[in-house]
């Protein structure tokens, strides 16, 4: 009677293990599948094309150039190798200012014709119009070939302006550097602090103190990140701004301080466990040789536990890199490459969280956010693998 219950339970456990693994793999595959299309997407919005007047010699325009033209950064065609004529940027909606609504016909069937008219009349025009209304075959209109988003523009680009029309800018370098920068500073703050607490808890504290301190530290891990973020915005941001007399308090440093506090419980717990697992025989041997308590700690306990401590630090980094809400609230979210501690930064998780809601499903912006997700996944994967490798080393060592 009992053996088949056991069998069933075994099967259920096996199945749940399988299902979990498959689900995780599917999520990863989905992430890469959604993001992969980015590099086949045109640099201008999908379904749109750029047109110029037929007398214009220009054949290709890069994504950053398009952006500069529409922001009046480039004003003459001669600046980008064309003829000497002022550039007239034209957006599709502008057509409704040139003609009355009824002139386009019942179902806008006359729209291409009217667009053609405007383009043919303006020699310096750069028109951004939907493909379905392209004035094909109209005298005096030249349709430019569309480029696709290039990987080097994506990974090495320095401007992240996903809402720029007609050519959204997806340069992720500031985001990647921002994420790494904030996490690096956070871990530089958290490691010495965490180590101090861990040494105190495992070696110095009396058991009664430890019984109070340890749960308190673990409680830190249970506070929702939005609460940390709110605290950061209201208390820490003005404090940082006043202390360092900055023009703005939302900086990489502010984010790092909060992230450091959030990474502390992980570091403390893991490092303390590693130190406490130092065999009693080793400590006693050290003391028997005449070493003091202090010497035992830093000559015996810490070297013995070093791989556990390193794993603690790496796990702390992982915690900081993936944190979303705090970064969103206190780092200022400005997509610029950080040069000092006190510049605002924009992190990858904050970007995804803030922008995915409005990014049209399947569009370039949506795909770009998924590629960002892939980048973040790869970063944390590397971190987890190194944590794994480091903590494995411990098993081969010892007495």
């Amino acid at each position: 009677m009992r053996w088949w219950i056991e069998k069933i339970v075994e099967k259920i456990f096996a199945a749940s293990g399988m299902i979990t693994t498959v689900v995780i793999l599917l999520i990863v595959i989905f992430l890469f599948k959604e993001g992969f299309g980015l590099f086949n997407s045109p640099v201008v919005e999908k379904g749109y094309a750029l047109c110029v007047n037929a007398v214009n010699p220009v054949e290709h325009i890069g994504s950053t150039t398009i952006k500069k033209i529409y922001n009046s950064g480039i004003e003459n065609w001669s600046e980008i190798g064309g003829f000497n004529e002022k550039i007239v940027p034209f957006r599709f909606d502008d057509i409704f200012g040139h003609y009355k609504e009824e002139e386009f016909g019942e179902n806008y069937e006359k729209l291409p014709e009217k667009l053609g008219e405007v383009i043919a009349q303006t020699p310096g025009i750069l028109a951004f119009i939907p493909e379905e209304y392209l004035p094909k075959g109209v005298e005096g209109v030249k349709i430019l070939d569309g480029n696709t988003v290039r990987p080097e523009d994506f990974f090495l680009g320095q401007e992240w302006i996903p809402t720029s029309t007609p050519a959204p800018q997806f340069g992720v370098l500031p985001l990647i550097l921002g994420t790494l920068w904030v996490s690096l500073i956070a871990i530089l703050i958290a490691t010495p602090l965490g180590m101090g607490v861990a040494i105190y808890l495992s070696e110095l504290a009396q058991s009664r103190v430890r019984d109070i301190l340890k749960p308190t530290v673990e409680l830190l891990a249970g506070i929702p990140s939005v609460v940390y973020g709110f605290f950061g915005l209201v208390v820490l941001v003005p404090m940082v701004q006043k202390t360092f007399s900055l023009s703005v308090g939302e900086t990489a440093f502010t984010g790092s301080v909060i992230l450091a506090i959030m990474a502390l419980p992980t570091i403390i717990t893991v490092a303390e466990d590693a130190m406490r697992s130092t065999p009693r025989a080793m400590r006693e041997a050290s003391l028997a040789l005449g070493a003091t308590h202090w010497q035992t700690i830093y000559k015996v306990v810490i070297p013995y536990a070093i791989s556990g401590i390193s794993a603690a630090v790496v796990l702390g980094i992982g915690r900081a890199i993936g944190e979303t809400m705090v970064a969103l609230m206190v780092t200022g979210n400005a997509a610029i490459i950080p040069k000092t501690l006190f510049t605002p930064v924009r992190t990858i998780p904050a970007t995804i969280a803030a922008e995915l809601g409005e990014a049209p499903h399947g569009g370039v912006h949506y795909q770009a956010l998924f590629v960002l997700g892939c980048v973040l996944f790869l970063i944390t994967l590397v971190i987890s693998i190194s944590a794994e490798l480091i903590s494995k080393r411990q098993h081969n060592k010892g007495l």
């Binding site: 957006r91 703005v248 200022g332 499903h361």
Partner: protein, 268 residues
């Protein structure tokens, strides 16, 4: 058995009058309040209101997963086109207006700015307050996140579709913008009129190259002297007119419009 039949009829009846509203987070508090009082008056009506952003609401309307799309911007040409392709004619009802106030830190001496100056500040061409008649202080510009309808409206209306500068500080919520501007001396940002409080100072804006500067208020927005005003709109398709009509009529009624001004928006 009879009781069961009775309840199932009741449930069916309530489903018949159920409707969903989805979209702009700016309109969200207004729609929620309207829905609550509407359901108090009409016991068997059921109105569900969710946010997500204007674009989210309109794409839900195209997918047919919402009855009303609440929006803080006009429907885009593409969105209209997609609805027409599905054989639906879109109806537009303006339920209220919202003025956007440009705000700075109360300690800032600058209180007048032209649209051109605002464009310069938010696109990164003007970086110091002394360039617009203030003290020698770095300008820190705050913006909403890209998912917000306010972000897009401000870009279209004030920046004339130019891009915000790459280094702009973007905040996840209007409350966070008010908080940050209140504690940053060189800050400037934009918020809905309803969020205006003593922590920040509203800038008088000029759209005629500095001839007249107008303070944002319910009064100036209503008589159209204040320029940065946008409509808050309900979109629905003509097929569902019968379902949504009672609620929309309620919103446009005197009681519904009172809620509009209670929340801090401008009545029609």
């Amino acid at each position: 058995m009879k009781k069961l039949l009775f309840t199932s009829i009741l449930v069916a009846a309530s489903i018949l009058t159920a409707q969903t509203i989805k979209g702009s987070d700016t309109v969200l508090p207004l729609s929620q309040q309207e829905a609550e009082t509407f359901m108090k008056v009409n016991k068997n009506a059921r109105v569900t209101v969710t946010g997500g952003g204007s674009g989210v609401g309109l794409s839900a309307l195209i997918e047919g997963t919402t009855d009303i799309a609440q929006s803080s911007r006009k429907i885009k040409f593409d969105e209209k086109k997609k609805l027409e392709e599905k054989g639906a004619k879109v109806k537009e009802i303006i339920i209220a207006f919202d003025a956007l106030a440009v705000v700075v830190n109360p300690k800032n001496k600058v209180s007048n700015l032209t649209r051109e100056q605002l464009e310069g500040i938010f696109t990164g061409k003007i970086t110091n307050w002394k360039e617009v008649g203030g003290e020698d202080l770095k300008i820190v510009a705050y913006s909403r996140e890209t998912s917000s309808g306010t972000y897009e409206f401000f870009k279209e209306e004030v920046l004339k579709k130019k891009d915000y500068m790459p280094g702009i500080m973007s905040m996840p919520a209007t409350g966070a913008i008010v908080q940050s501007i209140g504690q940053t001396p060189g800050a400037i940002g934009y918020i809905g009129l309803a969020y205006l409080d003593a922590k920040v100072k509203a800038i008088h804006v000029s759209y005629d190259n500095g001839k007249t500067f107008v303070e944002p208020s319910v009064k100036t927005a209503k008589d159209e002297t204040y320029p940065i005003v946008r409509p808050l709109i309900y979109y629905y398709v003509d097929k569902s007119e019968a379902t949504v009509k009672p609620f929309i009529d309620y919103v446009l009624s005197a009681a519904g419009q009172k809620i509009v001004s209670d929340i801090g928006f401008i009545t029609k």
